[in-house]
Symmetry: C2
Subunit: 350 residues, 2 copies
């Protein structure tokens, strides 16, 4: 099966699939400097926690590749400036900061090298982060696909697929693996208002892989749960805190609470780069609020609401750890108690 | 304050606000026969359980006004044929059938009259149903507005306002009355996918009445409940069964379940014409499934999903009686146990 990937790297530019146009148009954004990457992340041409981490790492490379002094301290300063800039493109997903920190540590550990070497190091590290991300996705899928039983209907929200990662995906990776292994099952995809990543990207990815998919409005999930149709929920995450609370696309908390009410297992599929060792609980996660036009104008064009109406548009919500049946990471499945078991798996990581 | 009404009646035609165009365009559909009314209801130019009841009553008049035989039996047969036809325009809201039955009983009780008199009787009965509906809305609002306390944030879904009734509204009528009485409060309006009646019509009605309104995507309600923002929920209904289960716009069950979880009072505002004496429980309510284009094409124009994707598009869901704090009717507030108390209020009705 064809791999679905949101980003292609070259020595002098990065080519990004403009996901705002999917699935009707396959258009690319060509990023030649850190501003282009910043803008692609902020405007959500590229989105998905692992994918924006990878994009940021390449953005850092683009931001230092033309540095032309021989002063290593200036180089480090320049790198740190670009890191601060790229970190500020979106606030919620921690993978963005994680990836930039990974690159930075690599440079600091090799700061004795010549600047040209350091530039190559950064490029190679970005490539490695991207490749590792795909490997992690496949490992997570390997741990989780067995959770899907013959005849299951699974629910997902937003896009946690190839386009949200370096390829393959977190939650959708589990579906892809189950399909590869010949499991018969189907997926209900929440359209995911306001930006419709479910209708546009998830439905498109699942269809390409030949998985039976039904698109629903977000408000229909509860009704399907009540009828007993939905057997499992799989979602991605933008940030997981040390007690197991996590932020993900707005609407995730609603689904998690309803899944609990209807006794449906709820799984979060996220690499350890999504876990924030610095945050104790979901209350600490910064939530991004986005432009009201995302809601009042369909596709930023056709107005659907009266002018001047107030709008509340958080991009994410926070789901309590107690609603999560298990986290699936590249190091294995984490079950409650999360406060203990997340630490255990993270500390065993390095 | 200006009254908001979806329908204007004349002797030879009915003028209906085409609600699919609101709020950006105020366009009218001119209905000159029963087919025009059938189409206006089916295509949702007019929608809302009480409003389609009123439209159907006028549709019956348009369907018999040109009857030109003097045979009263043929007239009755013609009337019954038009009733069957109009009843089939939409399946879930019981007010449609209730209004047609009201007109029919009026005719049958006066079948000795000349056919021209019977035609006048039907017209006058349709006018009376419309006027009574407004009175009922105001009575319900009178019973319920006291439930809104100073500083409350209330949540609603879909449009249960002037446009869903003969004017004033069911759930929104409660807000209008609270505003008229000088209560300070605010409303969060769910946009209500797929047809966005909340974003388009509810937000527009509330804004016109000067009520502080914030528009949200349906998936955001849970997050606001978790934060403790939402203090009460008010919704309308399309059909209430004798045990207190009820059908309303898809997404209502989700909100009701989440309100219960967050210990938020959940009120259903519906005239007794919405109660179906023939149905025992929500399992018996026929649910309408609508065209997939409502979901895959925004505003029936711009495709947002991959072509050929499966779609599940129920127009309504059913909420269990146990999730309802109280029903507000024109005869007063009904509290649990509903199986007993609904019968009591309905039997005291005639």
């Amino acid at each position: 099966m064809k791999n679905i990937t949101p980003l292609f790297y070259f020595k002098d530019h990065i080519k990004i699939v403009d996901q705002r146009k999917l699935p009707l148009e396959l258009k690319y954004a060509y990023c030649r400097n850190e501003q282009d990457i910043f803008s692609a992340i902020k405007k959500m041409k590229i989105r998905g926690a692992p994918a924006i981490g990878v994009a940021a790492a390449f953005g850092l490379y683009l931001g230092i590749k033309d540095f032309n002094s021989k002063d290593r301290n200036d180089f480090i300063k320049r790198m740190e400036k670009v890191i601060r800039y790229l970190s500020s493109s979106r606030p919620t997903a921690v993978n963005l900061r994680w990836a930039l920190e990974e690159v930075k540590q690599e440079v600091l550990a090799n700061r004795g090298l010549k600047i040209d070497k350091l530039k190559g190091l950064i490029y190679n590290k970005a490539v490695k982060i991207m490749r590792d991300d795909q490997d992690r996705c496949r490992r997570m899928a390997g741990f989780a696909f067995g959770l899907i039983k013959k005849g299951d209907s699974c629910l997902t929200i937003c896009n946690a697929g190839g386009m949200a990662t370096s390829g393959y995906g977190t939650a959708l990776g589990v579906f892809f693996k189950a399909k590869e292994r010949g499991r018969k099952f189907e997926v209900f995809a929440c359209e995911t208002r306001p930006l419709l990543q479910g209708a546009r990207i998830t439905a498109w990815e699942l269809k390409q892989k030949g998985i039976k998919t039904t698109l629903i409005c977000d408000s229909m999930a509860a009704s399907l749960m009540k009828k007993g149709v939905i057997k499992k929920v799989f979602v991605g995450a933008d940030r997981v805190t040390m007690n197991g609370d996590f932020a993900n696309k707005i609407g995730t908390y609603s689904i998690a609470a309803l899944a609990k009410l209807h006794k449906i297992p709820f799984y979060v599929v996220a690499p350890l780069s999504t876990f924030d060792k610095k945050l104790h609980s979901g209350r600490d996660i910064p939530i991004e609020f986005r432009n009201k036009d995302e809601i009042t104008k369909l596709y930023f064009k056709k107005s659907i609401a009266p002018s001047g109406i107030g709008v509340f548009n958080p991009a994410f919500d926070v789901t309590d750890a107690k609603l999560v049946t298990a986290f699936i990471t590249e190091k294995g499945i984490i079950k409650p108690p999360y406060a203990k078991n997340i630490r255990k798996i993270i500390n065993g990581r390095k």
